[in-house]
Symmetry: C3
Subunit: 235 residues, 3 copies
Amino acid sequence: MTESVLWITALIMFAGGTALLFMGKRRNETEGVMSLAHGIVPIIAGCLYVAMATGQGAVLLPTDATLAGAANTTRIFWFGRYIDWVFTTPLLLVSLGCLGMLQGRKRADLLLGAVTADVLMIVTAFAFSASENVVSRWIWFILSCVAFLGVYYVIWVSQMEANRKESAEVQSAYKRSATILSVLWMVYPVILAISPDGLGLVADSVSVLVIAITDVLAKVAFGFLSLSDDRKLER
Amino acid sequence: MTESVLWITALIMFAGGTALLFMGKRRNETEGVMSLAHGIVPIIAGCLYVAMATGQGAVLLPTDATLAGAANTTRIFWFGRYIDWVFTTPLLLVSLGCLGMLQGRKRADLLLGAVTADVLMIVTAFAFSASENVVSRWIWFILSCVAFLGVYYVIWVSQMEANRKESAEVQSAYKRSATILSVLWMVYPVILAISPDGLGLVADSVSVLVIAITDVLAKVAFGFLSLSDDRKLER
Amino acid sequence: MTESVLWITALIMFAGGTALLFMGKRRNETEGVMSLAHGIVPIIAGCLYVAMATGQGAVLLPTDATLAGAANTTRIFWFGRYIDWVFTTPLLLVSLGCLGMLQGRKRADLLLGAVTADVLMIVTAFAFSASENVVSRWIWFILSCVAFLGVYYVIWVSQMEANRKESAEVQSAYKRSATILSVLWMVYPVILAISPDGLGLVADSVSVLVIAITDVLAKVAFGFLSLSDDRKLER
Ligand SMILES: CC1=C(/C=C/C(C)=C/C=C/C(C)=C/C=O)C(C)(C)CCC1
Ligand SMILES: CC1=C(/C=C/C(C)=C/C=C/C(C)=C/C=O)C(C)(C)CCC1
Ligand SMILES: CC1=C(/C=C/C(C)=C/C=C/C(C)=C/C=O)C(C)(C)CCC1
């Protein structure tokens, strides 16, 4: 089951990414960067879904119960996920930042701020999933959540301020995209906290399925939305 | 034999890189980036050739025959190669892109397009060489070739279009460099497909030698060519 | 002891980084990049100090004596250190370069030159610490020192030249920062050469302590210094 989910998601990602690459507009440099980012994101994810489907993007780790000597069970650590996210989430944030500062100068400090907080979030999240010791695990989880708040801060405070100088259409497009992204990304910490990587309240197959669906929404659906926004905005 | 080839190539790379760094012109920012890229590329390669020569950049993997239980043989997986390529090939492409858009604005989307396709090509190629399972291996090979086509597309279609706005000398220098690069880079997929990583038609020592020669041509010789081009072009 | 040193350093780093992030000025893009860099550097270091304190950022390697069959001892390879440095040292150099070219155009080739030499220095230093073979180890040490000279060259020759076009205040601020950085960074090759990774003249706990103190000076103290410089310089 899980394997089929992974293969199907890989195919959706490749199809979606190719479509986004071909349909994206490139009338100027900003549009070029944005449609490149939205097209390449699902293609990177597709490659890592292939790796997870063939078993190359996952390893088995002992569970807490095993380490305590109470049982002899393992959990699957899908590290391919984090390789995907460490490249794709910065690209999505750069594209969002470009939308927010569409006509104005793309301020390097605002784009860099979002990207560094985001990379810290993903790398500490990797450490969370990789940790065998239960104390270390939750230290990393908290650090990752703090970095996640940093991402929200840049999106909703720093970039929002720069966004106020843009036209009304750009402002509403930015607010809509930022809202959808913020809500969709909230799914990840929740599902991972209750997956076998965290508290173990839901089965691994459930968490894989939920993450696959969210990944398709946050990458392919979000990409098409940005594309249609783009067509409407004047240059 | 293979070890001597690796040490000698390392020395050539260090000598070539140092020469390129000292001889490169830096009259303006674009020239500075280009001569830095051409100088640093062989130095990075030199470091990884040292790692491969000392055995730190390679591991043994079982062959298909071993996995099928038919024999007990191993192949050498030179992973140092991919660490080299993942840094050097983007630098070469950035330098080529700067040449193509020499007087005009360096369009970030065109440079990024070449670099992302290229990194995808190298990372999937790493997965190809690392895969023990024969099916996974050829899936990665095909994905890597598709990314390679993407690199060609950016060089010959997207950047070519931006290149049309340049002077006649810049146009012909770009076309010459792009042709040489495209031909030299074709050697890699061919030799790796028939090396022990792929079909196993040629011995490992042969593939190491062919790749070492191609690497010297694609990095040092190509660097000197760009340097001499540079001296002739007006600023 | 060593564990407490690591935890305490982690706390200092998080506290210092947070303070720097909140106190940093962001009146324009350059200031934004500089205060982001100075704030995020200790936070990255804090994460890696947590990893080293929990044991996730270190592994045991055999010593030279063990490999020679003379004894059965191990040394601790703190690889977390290099993950820290590969991200933080480029950020510190970018910030120094921005200070040096404060009013003028930030020349991409000068910033890139410092960063590539620096990354080469850290990656070869990682290879130095990771090498079990004593010959390989010192080859890497020498390569790392050569790259370190490259960093000094960019700071004191190339960027210094660009710095001459700036106002007298910016020139003296740059010279002061560059001097402090150059002196502090010299501590690292010396202590690592005599630590168990190198000649083994001092105990591991000593080298951890010395590096922790130098790290706090080079990241947090240096950050506050830049901040106070920044307040004084006119925009
Ligand atoms: C804060 C936090 C997390 C957040 C993860 C996020 C926000 C991932 C987003 C991924 C996306 C958007 C992928 C594809 O588009 C984790 C790792 C679950 C665990 C630790 C706490
Ligand atoms: C498409 C493809 C490949 C292409 C590799 C290339 C194009 C490498 C270029 C390296 C250079 C240019 C190095 C130094 O300058 C591989 C990996 C052989 C195997 C999979 C298919
Ligand atoms: C040349 C050299 C080294 C230099 C390391 C340096 C210069 C590290 C700087 C770290 C900083 C500044 C960290 C935090 O801010 C090593 C690795 C010791 C060993 C090999 C030779």
